[in-house]
Amino acid sequence: MHCNVLIVDDSPILRAAIKKVVKLAGVDSDRIHEAGNGKEALELLETVWIDLVLLDLNMPVMDGEQFAIQLREREELGGVRVVIVSTETNRDRLDRIRALGISDSLRKPFEPEDLCRIITDTMGVSS
């Protein structure tokens, strides 16, 4: 699958686990990027074109909601698709974030097959 994926999560071990699933979805290793919080993710987006962001919400420094708000304020990054991968259960917060044009969401713990399906569906690729 020819797309660049950015995994944003403050847990290195969860990023590694998600990376394995992204590879299973058919994305080459050198197209998978990582960031430990929203600030790092925005900095990376200034230098690398990203097609899909897999975004945790509860993170230190800059959380996923603030990242999504700032991402949508940048017209040049309007084509970046975002999928929430988080433990978040607060309905008001999830509604606020979905209103920012989030493509999909997946609650942890998730089945690897579900994340694979969301990646392929979001990127318009049949699995």
Binding site: I13, A17, T89, N90
Partner: protein, 152 residues
């Protein structure tokens, strides 16, 4: 808001481990397995406030981290990867607990998981698991479920 019981906590823990890391555990009595040496806690606020605390043996954390990373347990660095794994397990279980007690209209807010020095005692809903002799203990405390553990 739903009543939270030992059965719910057991189910949430088993599901989190199976889905996230393909790690299988069996519910057991607290004193049947190795003593937990590492702890992590996540707090939440909302209609009630509380926390979820995880206690685990090094062997269990090696198993959990190795499954997440796709490496052998002997290759796991407990001080970095093992502790990251227990923090993330607390995060995932905290979210599962709030989903169980808050339902579709949850108004709870989850904090960030942190390492803890030890468990805080036995008050609250508690369950223990065996993973080939290694131990995992999970405790959920809220302002109003202290009696639920005894009832369950």
């Amino acid at each position: 808001m739903s009543e939270f019981t030992t059965e719910l906590l057991e189910r949430a823990t088993i599901q989190a481990l199976e889905r996230t890391a393909f790690v299988l555990v069996d519910p057991c009595e607290t004193d049947e397995t190795a003593t937990p040496t590492r702890f992590a806690r996540i707090e939440f606020t909302g209609p009630t406030c509380g926390s979820v605390t995880i206690g685990a043996s090094d062997g269990f954390l090696a198993e959990l981290a190795s499954s997440l990373l796709g490496v052998e347990a002997e290759e796991v660095d407990i001080e970095t990867e093992g502790l990251d794994a227990i923090r993330e397990l607390a995060n995932i279980l905290g979210g599962s607990v709030l989903n169980d007690i808050g339902g579709q209209d949850s108004t709870f807010s989850l904090g960030l998981p942190e390492l803890a020095s030890a468990n805080e005692g036995d008050a609250g809903v508690t369950c223990s698991f065996d993973c080939e002799g290694e131990s995992l203990h999970v405790t959920c405390r809220t302002s109003d479920i202290g009696g639920a553990a005894q009832a369950a």
